[in-house]
């Protein structure tokens, strides 16, 4: 199927829409997780959802998504509480507590899932789709549920925007304003858990963390404002979701989750490289530009000083002498300066190699540059 055909298909279109919404919610709330240094909490939340998924299926005895998502949210929240308990009451630090909680819940989930899949109807329920995500397993009624929950989470974020911003930037100050910081932090964590849970069917418990972290990390590169960062992360998440859903739908049997994650990772890579100011390419270009400018400045000032020493502003300096002054070959620097009309090449003694003089423009510019490089004693002396 080509892309147009895909988009004409109602099922594919609705799955793409669902994936876009999942990416949007995960990107927006993931921005807060990233800024609060809680990105890995998303990983624990999603892995810990597995026992809830299996229990939701076993207890309801059906494939209906509501009990499954409810189970996922409850077991994810319990895992987050276990992390809190471990860090508060023992000497275990955040990272170890996250690992302990994640592996414990995931192990329990795997055992329960194995048991559940031996039950009648488990194969049709597509429970294993929750591991790596499968767009084909999503029903239209599921999309309505996912969409409803996602929009509710976005509404909560919009309503409590300034409160969430305040506790994320400066929790103590927010406390002094009278904000219930602990309750708001708990609510924000629950919202992040909601963002994770609604994506489980499409992306799967193992890779869902990528949709929380990647769009936010990519968006952080491009912007200086929280508003813009969250909007951009939401857009990146939606883009990755749609791309993953379409690719997965066009190639039968391809799990949706990995494709979505690959798309999101491509956005991160591109952002890390080319984003203005924070991007690696941008920084490398700036640093290279600075080094180049510094080289030109030094050669210009060297020429000026040689002229001053010889009391001849248009003194022809031999290139070999400039190389020695500079501490390396200056040919490319001099040619660049000649193109800018700052120096001229003269061959007044052909057997001795190239000589260079400052043009009047070059002299003026070198004199301006000389100040930050430090003047030598005597430079100011009347001649």
């Amino acid at each position: 199927m080509d892309l147009l055909e895909l988009l004409g298909d109602f099922t594919v279109r609705s799955v793409a829409l669902g994936a876009a919404l999942v990416g949007l919610v995960a990107g927006a709330l993931g921005s807060f997780a990233l800024l609060r240094r809680q990105s890995l909490l998303g990983d624990t939340l999603s892995h810990a959802a597995l026992p809830g998924i299996a229990l939701g299926f076993l207890l309801s005895g059906s494939r209906s998504l509501t009990p499954i998502l409810a189970g996922a949210l409850i077991s994810g929240t319990l895992a987050a509480l276990l992390v809190l308990l471990l860090t508060r009451s023992t000497r275990i630090k955040d990272d170890a507590a996250l690992g302990v909680s994640l592996s414990l819940f995931f192990a329990v989930g795997t055992v329960l899932l194995t048991y559940a899949q031996r039950q009648v109807g488990a194969a049709q329920a597509g429970l294993d789709a929750f591991l790596f995500g499968q767009a084909a397993a999503v029903l239209p009624s599921d999309l309505t549920l996912i969409g409803g929950i996602g929009l509710a989470a976005m509404l909560a974020l919009a309503l409590l925007w300034k409160e969430f911003k305040a506790i994320t930037f400066d929790a103590d100050f927010a406390r002094s304003l009278g904000l219930p910081v602990l309750a708001l932090e708990a609510l924000l964590t629950v919202l992040i858990a909601v963002a994770v849970v609604i994506g489980l069917q499409l992306v799967g418990v193992i890779l869902m963390v990528a949709l929380v972290v990647a769009p936010a990390a990519a968006a952080r590169q491009w912007t200086r404002r929280l508003e813009a960062m969250v909007a951009l992360a939401a857009a990146f998440g939606a883009l990755a979701g749609v791309a993953g859903a379409l690719v997965s739908a066009s190639a039968r049997g391809l799990a949706t989750g990995p494709v979505i994650v690959l798309a999101a990772s491509a956005l991160v890579l591109a952002s890390l490289l080319v984003a203005p100011e924070r991007g690696l390419a941008w920084q490398a270009a700036r640093s290279w530009g600075r080094r180049r400018a510094l080289g030109s400045h030094r050669v210009l000032v060297d020429l000026l000083r040689l002229g001053q020493d010889h009391r001849d502003p248009a003194y022809a300096s031999e290139q070999g002498m400039l190389d020695t002054y500079f501490g390396g070959p200056t040919g490319h620097v001099l040619r660049r300066l000649r193109r800018r009309g700052l120096v001229e090449r003269v061959d007044h003694m052909p057997e001795e190699g190239a000589h260079w003089v400052l043009t009047p423009t070059g002299q003026a510019q070198a004199r301006e540059l000389q100040v930050p490089f430090g003047k030598r004693p005597g430079d100011e002396a009347p001649r």
């Binding site: 305040a166 103590d172 406390r175 200086r224």
Partner: protein, 295 residues
């Protein structure tokens, strides 16, 4: 209506009584009684780990004390929160947060705005005015990560100014700022005092405390002494707070102590190590050797 119900020490801007706090069973603050009259610039001074920051964080409710109560202008702190502005240590937040100076200052108005309401044009104007008061209006749209340490401190002060409080609680407002900013902050504090406001600041520099402040509380887990700086800033009191090895210049009893050798009997309690209070001691004057003999 009963007039006196809930009113307690109405003549004091800040009244802290019996405040006790601990981290992991180690007392950080012990039975602290602190009284600050209105209209003074008060410094809280003491060695590292004395509980200075914890005291401020207890007052604003960021740390839950084991015991004690806080009254502001005669009423419990909870009722008076809108009259108090808190300036945390500059290093307590992540300055790489994606926001601008103006936005940070606008956060000072979040309490007044209340739930769900967004700041508007008038709030932005107020924030800009506060930035102008600290000489930072030209940096309103600047990304906060691009500000110098002194500029960051000014933005924090502007955020407190925009709250238009009666009592300002500041944690190390002079930490890591250059001489120009220090001067500007001192002027700002004196201006607040001239307008009848009260400032309580954690301070680390024994050399400047007597010139910048007019009220002093010496703290080392418990309150060693408090009162007008002219009465409290004495060699005996400072030795009681910092231990016998502190070197003092120009204390009010006119008897600058030489560097004491060995441990004097009746030395002050050894300060406990407070994870929240591990300020860099770089701001301490070189004449002050405030290390206590903690093994």
């Amino acid at each position: 209506m009963t007039v006196v119900a809930g009113v307690h020490e109405p003549s004091l801007a800040l009244h802290v009584e019996d405040l006790t706090a601990s981290y992991a069973q180690q007392a950080v603050l012990w039975d602290v009684d602190l009284n600050v009259p209105p209209g003074v610039l008060a410094a809280i001074v003491g060695p590292n780990g004395a509980g200075k920051s914890t005291l401020l964080r207890c007052i604003i409710g960021a740390v839950r004390p084991n015991a004690g109560h806080v009254y502001v202008h005669g009423r419990p702190y909870r009722e008076q929160r809108h009259r108090v502005a808190y300036v945390p240590q500059r290093t307590s937040v992540d300055w790489d947060f994606p926001t601008t100076s103006l936005d940070v200052v606008t956060m000072g108005l979040y309490g007044r705005l209340g739930w769900f309401r967004r700041p508007r044009r008038s709030e932005a104007d107020e924030a800009l005015e506060a930035l102008a008061m600290v000489g930072m209006d030209a940096y309103a749209d600047r990304q906060i990560a691009q500000l110098s340490g002194g500029q960051q401190q000014r933005v924090f002060l502007a955020r407190a100014l925009v709250q238009d409080a009666d009592l300002y609680l500041m944690d190390e407002p002079f930490a890591g700022v250059d001489a120009t900013t220090e001067r500007a902050i001192v002027d700002l504090l004196k201006d607040l005092r001239a307008r009848g406001k009260t400032v309580v600041a954690v301070h680390h520099d024994l050399q400047t405390v007597a010139t910048y402040f007019d009220w002093l509380a010496l703290l080392n887990v418990r309150v060693i002494a408090q009162g007008p700086v002219t009465e409290v800033y004495t060699a005996d009191n400072l030795r009681a707070a910092y231990g016998p090895r502190v070197v003092l210049l120009g204390t009010t009893d006119g008897a600058p102590a030489a560097a004491a050798t060995g441990a004097a009997p009746g030395a002050a309690a050894a300060p406990v190590t407070d994870p929240d209070d591990g300020e860099a001691s770089a701001t301490e004057p070189s004449t002050t050797e405030a290390r206590s003999p903690v093994a």
